[in-house]
């Protein structure tokens, strides 16, 4: 699971939507490519590598939902308010699995709801009859309906209470371990990502600024912005100490500062930072990337940004058993 963190307006959602070519005009993707290396889990998606930006609409149609599914933040806006959940599953399966008879579609929909911890009776409910957590679960079930290889989760739990959030995350992790999809998890809550993701990428003002394994990023950030962002989450243990967060406020994207967009808020900004935009480049021998002049050439790296990487064994995850709700 890759986590994508950043403040509002840093371009996290835009990046995800661009990858799926879901952006609407006047948005325009001016350059770049989105390579999808397909390894079908189920169904019959495309084989081999597809550039989604160059693909024709028919090819794109084969990939969207069947192979790459998106769950958006607001489930209420993504579900159709005037039809039942069951009817929406039915529509989806009828289009993408033309051979499937009606009764089978219905039982498959029930199975999917079961997978996310909902009772199959809920198929007869309208979205407004469900709680926020239930709606988000239904969305996840729908995204999983065609056994995608990739799930893009855009702030899937931000509007929910912590307990519901935790339950849904547990289910997601369990499903990921069982079904084997890759996930892109977008959120502004870095403290949550550290717990969830295997690897975290941090965005600021529309650019990827740092990418590292979750534990390394948390214990030994290399980027001043990441360091500051980690300082914005008060800890749950230990002594209380005053924390300073990041001075200033996020930049106006219409009028970005010259050079590195973070330099006006950066305590260690160099002269070079005001002039040239740093590129995301690997740091020698650590398997992580950072876009910061402090880690280039012979610049002196501040002690706060030079902590040793934690020795990490890949985190052991106990696959959570899926709770099957019984009637």
């Amino acid at each position: 699971m890759l986590g994508l963190a950043g403040e509002s307006g840093s371009g996290k959602t835009t990046l995800a939507l661009a990858a799926m070519r879901l952006l609407r005009a006047p948005a325009l993707i001016t350059s770049g490519e989105v390579l999808f290396h397909s390894r079908p889990i189920g169904g019959d998606g495309p084989k081999g590598t597809v550039d989604l930006l160059a693909a024709g609409l028919d090819d794109l149609r084969e990939v969207r939902w069947s192979e790459i599914a998106v769950v958006l933040q607001s489930a209420l806006n993504s579900l159709n308010p005037v039809t039942t959940i069951g009817a929406q599953f039915d529509d989806l399966l009828r289009v993408h699995r033309p051979g499937m008879p009606g009764s089978e579609r219905w039982s498959r929909a029930g199975e999917l709801l079961d997978m996310v911890g909902m009772n199959a009776d809920r198929l007869r409910s309208y979205p407004h009859e469900l709680s926020g957590g239930m709606r988000q679960r239904a969305m996840i079930a729908m995204a999983l309906a065609l056994e995608p290889q990739i799930m893009i989760l855009d702030e899937p739990t931000t509007a929910l209470d912590v307990v519901t959030q935790r339950e849904i995350l547990e289910e997601l992790m369990g499903l990921r371990d069982r079904l084997g999809f890759a996930a892109l998890f977008i959120t502004h809550d870095l403290s949550l990502l550290v717990e969830l993701a295997d690897e975290i990428a941090v965005m600021y003002a529309g650019r990827l600024m740092e990418r590292a394994p979750a534990a390394s990023l948390f214990h030994a950030p290399r980027l001043p912005y990441t360091h500051g962002l980690l300082n914005c989450f008060p800890p749950m243990h230990g002594k209380r100490a005053r924390m300073e967060g990041i001075p200033g406020s996020p930049p106006d994207l219409r009028d970005l500062p010259s050079g590195c967009a973070f330099h006006p808020r950066c305590p260690w900004a160099l002269e070079k930072c005001k002039q040239a935009i740093p590129r995301l480049e690997p740091i020698s021998g650590s398997g992580r990337e950072v876009a910061c002049w402090l880690h280039h050439d012979d610049a002196k790296v501040p002690a706060e940004l030079a902590k040793a990487d934690p020795r990490t064994e890949p985190r052991q995850r106990v696959p959570t058993l899926i709770q099957v709700s019984k009637k």
Partner: protein
């Protein structure tokens, strides 16, 4: 140990039901939402009290009851030990001010910052002789410097954090003694939240304001508050000094909240004890409202609302597990004999 300071503002046994209609028409039934029941809160000068809970727990209702925006159905609001006056007279508004969640909505967007700040000054006749100076002073107090930069701006020209600072400055204009902040940082960007929290901490320390901080984020409550009050489904379930509460939670619901909250220092994935969702407030469960989800629920929990038991000085929990056996027997004719074991073990493990 010195005697507990007298609270500036106190809510005693506040109860508020909201009337809703189940359906339209002649036979519509009137139902009531039990939004807040028997909640007591004390706000002391120079202290921040946080109210924590999930959405629908009644946090904002408590805040609005204390600000006298709505009336309690029963219970009292006491200002300096005297019952708050009826109505919402200016004399009360001058003592108790509120800051809202959304600074986009709470500032008048067609007027400049200056106008937004001058209004309370004029209405309450504060600094009638030097309004300009008072505006500049307010902006300096919320760290918007130099003030000249901000007075002529419209709210939309400011960032979210700056806007919330203006909203706080406006609340400070009448020189209140109590500030009620309802989710003041939840709409702000992560990187500027801490700045606003630190501002509230400074106002507490330097100006001895009594602050009520309503939030769903238990980590920020631990960071800012002196005392944390946890609410569940309209009732107060636990209250303790903030570090004590997060380190030794006594109520099963608080333990659930803490285990669900994001915590990067956690080594193992948390085990949630008490899944599910808060109950309907129209037909709340009998007894303790948490009992349908509680892993330690006993018979007595289904029958009687638990009173607040002292866990340690300053630390109370409304949970039968903390009742002495005698209290439980006395109030329940010896029906319940379940051991207190699991909870105690659990708290020790932390």
């Amino acid at each position: 140990m010195n005697v507990a300071a007298a609270p500036v503002l106190e809510g005693r046994d506040l109860t508020k039901y909201f009337q809703v209609r189940q359906s339209r028409g002649l036979f519509a039934r009137r139902l009531s939402v039990h939004a807040v029941e028997n909640v007591s809160v004390r706000l002391e000068a120079g202290k921040v009290t946080a109210v924590v809970g999930e959405s629908g727990a009644g946090k904002s209702t408590v805040a609005r009851l204390l600000a006298r925006i709505i009336r309690p159905d029963s219970g009292q609001v006491l200002l300096d030990g005297r019952p708050a006056p009826g109505g919402r007279p200016r004399s009360y508004a001058k003592q108790v001010q509120m800051v809202f969640q959304d600074p986009f909505a709470s500032l008048n967007s067609v007027h400049r910052v200056r106008h937004n700040l001058v209004r309370p000054l004029k209405i309450h006749h504060v600094a009638d002789d030097n309004v300009e100076g008072a505006v500049a002073d307010l902006l300096r107090r919320v760290a918007l410097k130099p003030p000249g930069h901000f007075t002529e701006k419209f709210p939309h020209e400011l960032s979210g954090g700056q806007r919330q600072r203006v909203a706080i400055a406006r609340a400070l204009a009448v020189k209140p003694r109590v500030l009620i902040a309802d989710e003041p940082v939840s709409m702000l960007d992560v990187s500027i939240r801490l700045g606003v929290l630190n501002l509230l901490a400074d106002l507490r320390d330097k100006e001895q304001l009594a602050i009520l901080y309503v939030t769903h984020d238990i980590a920020s409550a631990r960071y800012l508050a002196d005392t944390v009050v946890v609410m569940y489904a309209g009732q107060l379930v636990e209250s303790a000094p903030s570090v004590e509460l997060t380190d030794n939670p006594a109520h099963p619901y608080t333990q659930l909240l803490l285990s669900a909250a994001p915590d990067p220092d956690r080594v193992e994935p948390p085990q949630l004890a008490g899944r599910g969702a808060p109950p309907s407030l129209i037909t709340p469960p009998s007894g303790c409202r948490f009992h349908p989800r509680c892993p330690y629920a006993m018979d007595i929990c289904k029958q009687q609302v638990p009173p607040s038991f002292a866990v340690s000085p300053d630390h109370i929990a409304a949970c039968w597990l903390h009742a002495k056996p005698a209290e439980r027997v006395a109030s329940n004719n010896g029906l319940s004999t379940a051991p207190v074991g699991p909870l105690e073990q659990d708290t020790k493990k932390r």
